[in-house]
Amino acid sequence: MVFMAVTGFAIARLRNLFGVVMLTGIFSLMSAVLYVVLDAVDVAFTEAAVGAGIATVLMLSTLALTSSEERVSEDGKPMWALGLVVVTGAVLIYGTLDMPPFGDAYAPIHHHVAPRYLERSGQEVGIPNVVTSILASYRGYDTLGEVYVIFTAACGVLLIIGQPKRGRRRTLRMLVGEMRHGMRQNVILRVVSKLLIPFILVFALYVQWHGDFGPGGGFQAGVIFASGFILYALIFDVDTSRMVVPSGVTRLLLALGVLLYAGVGVVGLLRGGNFLNYSVLAEEQTVGQHLGILLVEFGVGLTVAAAMITIFFTFARQEH
């Protein structure tokens, strides 16, 4: 945590945005470690994949379009802002004073809804990973909402910079653009990434279909899957990798993923349950739950992977 604080301070001080992006990646990685220490493996996995992995790549591709040096604004009101931040921080700390002590077995969160999840999800949902049964079934509607947030973000990127704009287009090839050029020449990188990409994709599939037994699920899998393609695009060529997944296909998958998730919900509704009731999908409750969770996780994976690929390529195309 000390390292996190130091990194946070460095991020605020540093003027070189390239360095800032790297530091935020490090920050995410450290918080992932922290989550592992706190026994929240699923969260750690997501943080490592999303925060340290894909977010860094996306920020780098943004830097490729803009500049990597921050302009120091002259007319800011730093004292004002600093005061506000200090007050907010103080209030937060004040609020934590009455928090139940760390690791307290008698804290309210362990005694209200959690016991039922732990004790009965085995019979009611029937899969070993309780986190997955909460995310995909008990609170499946929230997860549907989260997938829609990602869907919205991808559509937003398409809407704002996805279409060829009238008038002058920015044709800046800045730092990262040139660096990529260097990377493409490097034999070691080319060979290693060629070797790695199949494994990345296989690992993504493992995470996707194994999410009900171990940590993982559609979110992480989608991000890992997308990162395989993005790696290829970074090392080799944007256009070639675009040929493997044309924009029409990613757009279709983007929509199909959320439709699959919501569709499973509607099927539950048609078969006599409420929206997102998976129990009615099969004769036996746990079989139905299992099937439902697999399907919605697949929907999540599809949309997340398609969204990441869409966002990355939309940024990458701006360069040309």
Partner: protein
């Protein structure tokens, strides 16, 4: 099937958004969005009818009983909000067709309707849910889509406005989430009704107090409570017309609803709101908004911006009603949610018509508009009367009940503030009217050229409604009073 209306209310729009993405045709996307909005309106009306007759409707998602699963809990307040959002959407959609075609490039239009549907689903999801975390998820959907829609304005400044809104909105959402996290830490639940029963026991802890503070500031940012309103004027002024109409009439209203829900339902059993400084603080901020924003509105030269500042003042009225913590005050706020939605929607539609024909809403472009666009300007004047609060308009109804509530409390100063702010509304509306009717049209301008009927009819529907519900306000008032009483009735 009727049992599933609560789910369908939100899910239909959610399903339609990816369909628009697949269709990729502007007209098809528009048709899908329109039909879905109209069906949603029908669902909302039927839900309101059912709540009115049989009381609260519960709908557990996935058949997992609350508090383990997520549950929709629909009472009069929720149902009324659903009707407001879908009603405005239903009137905006026919209007949007021509307006969007004129303001957004053709190849982006299908994505625009996809965004609109997501925004609609997000707002409905906030209004209908009985779970504080679920509310956050849908808040994110609606916020993200509104940032995107605002950035599509023709003016380059729309991008900066959207970015500013994004930063402020994200801070608001994060604050809300911190508040929710702290409440969860102290209670172990996310369900609103469940929270309301558990919170009083732990209400003395600092954590819960701080949670309330974060929730207040977070939602205050979203509803543009003075002095957290800075994102609003530019966002409304530079967004595409149809977006401004929809967001101005629904976006902040839903945030006001969330505010009411957190204060009166989730914290309903806690004394902090009835005895404490929070009502006083809210009342002072509301009064500052009403006077300050109206004063700024007087000096605007962009009429859309002028109306945006007037919105901040109107939000002040709503917060003033909340801060009284009486049934009459709260009913005044709830009825004003509806009334302001229809009249501001109408006024911004008039702006849309003018932008469509003239290409600008700068005040100096309004010269002679009374003759050149008589139908639109007549609607503007009629809507302006309502904004001022002339009798027979909805604006009068809301103000009447707010004044009455203030008198009940003996808040003479609040009555004075309402009157002064109304007088200021007379000034800023008059400025526009003067330019439009008493200055000759610039030389060489076209004679009479009106916006197409597809824009004028929705405009007059909203303006007409603001008189219809002003003359016969029993229906809206009954609902508002029933809603306010149910909010004071403690937990659901």
């Amino acid at each position: 099937m009727a049992a599933h209306y609560p789910a369908l209310q939100v899910v239909l729009a959610l399903l339609a958004a990816p369909v628009c993405l697949i269709l990729r045709r502007p007209n098809a996307a528009w048709a899908v969005a329109t039909v879905i909005t109209w069906i949603s309106l029908a669902l909302a009306l039927s839900l309101l009818g059912r709540v009115w007759e049989t009381g609260v409707i519960l709908y557990p998602m996935g058949d997992w009983a609350a508090p383990w699963g997520i549950e929709y809990q629909i009472d009069t307040v929720n149902a009324f909000m659903l009707v407001i959002v879908t009603l405005i959407g239903s009137v905006v959609m026919p209007f949007a067709r021509a307006s969007v075609e004129a303001e957004i490039e053709e190849e982006r239009i299908y994505l625009f309707y996809c965004m609109y549907l997501l925004n609609l689903a997000g707002l409905l999801g906030i209004a209908i849910t009985g779970d504080v975390f679920n509310l956050f998820v849908f808040l994110e959907i609606s916020s993200l889509s509104s940032y995107v829609m605002i950035s599509l304005g023709r003016d380059k400044r729309a991008l900066t406005a959207a970015y500013r809104y994004l930063v402020m909105g994200t801070i608001g959402a994060t604050f809300y989430l911190i508040g929710v996290g702290m409440m969860y830490m102290m209670t172990g639940t996310l369900n609103m009704a469940d929270l309301a029963t558990i919170l009083p026991a732990v209400a003395d802890s600092r954590t819960v107090m701080v949670a309330l503070g974060f929730l207040t500031v977070g939602l205050g940012l979203k509803l543009a409570l003075f002095p957290l309103h800075l994102w609003l004027p530019n966002a409304y002024a530079y967004a595409p017309s149809a977006v401004t109409v929809f967001l101005a009439a629904t976006g902040t209203k839903v945030a006001v609803y969330a505010f009411i829900r957190i204060f009166f339902t989730v914290f309903g059993g806690v004394e902090i709101f009835t005895a404490g400084v929070i009502p006083e603080i809210l009342a002072v901020l509301a009064a500052l908004a009403m006077i300050g924003a109206s004063a700024v509105a007087i000096y605007q030269t962009d009429v859309k911006r002028l109306l945006a500042y007037s919105s901040i003042a109107q939000i002040g009225y709503m917060v003033l009603g909340i801060s009284m913590v009486t049934v009459t005050g709260l009913a005044g706020t709830i009825v004003h949610l509806f009334n302001h939605a229809i009249m501001k929607g109408g006024l911004f539609m008039a702006m849309g018509c003018i932008l469509f024909k003239i290409g600008s809403v700068q005040l100096d472009q309004f010269e002679g508009l009374g003759k050149r666009m008589p139908v639109t300007m007549a609607a503007f004047v009629a809507g302006g009367f309502s904004l001022i609060g002339v009798p027979l308009t909805v604006g009068f109804v809301s103000k009447w009940y707010l004044v009455q509530a203030a008198l009940e409390k003996g808040w003479w100063l609040a009555v004075a503030v309402i009157l002064v702010s109304s007088l200021m509304a007379v000034i800023y509306i008059w400025r526009v009217v003067e330019v439009a009717y008493f200055r000759p049209p610039p030389k060489g301008s076209a004679e009479v050229s009106e916006a197409p009927l597809s824009m004028l009819v929705p405009l007059w529907i909203l303006i007409g409604a603001s008189y219809y519900f002003g003359i016969d306000a029993t229906r809206t008032l009954d609902i508002a009073f029933a809603a306010a009483e149910s909010l004071f009735g403690g937990p659901l």
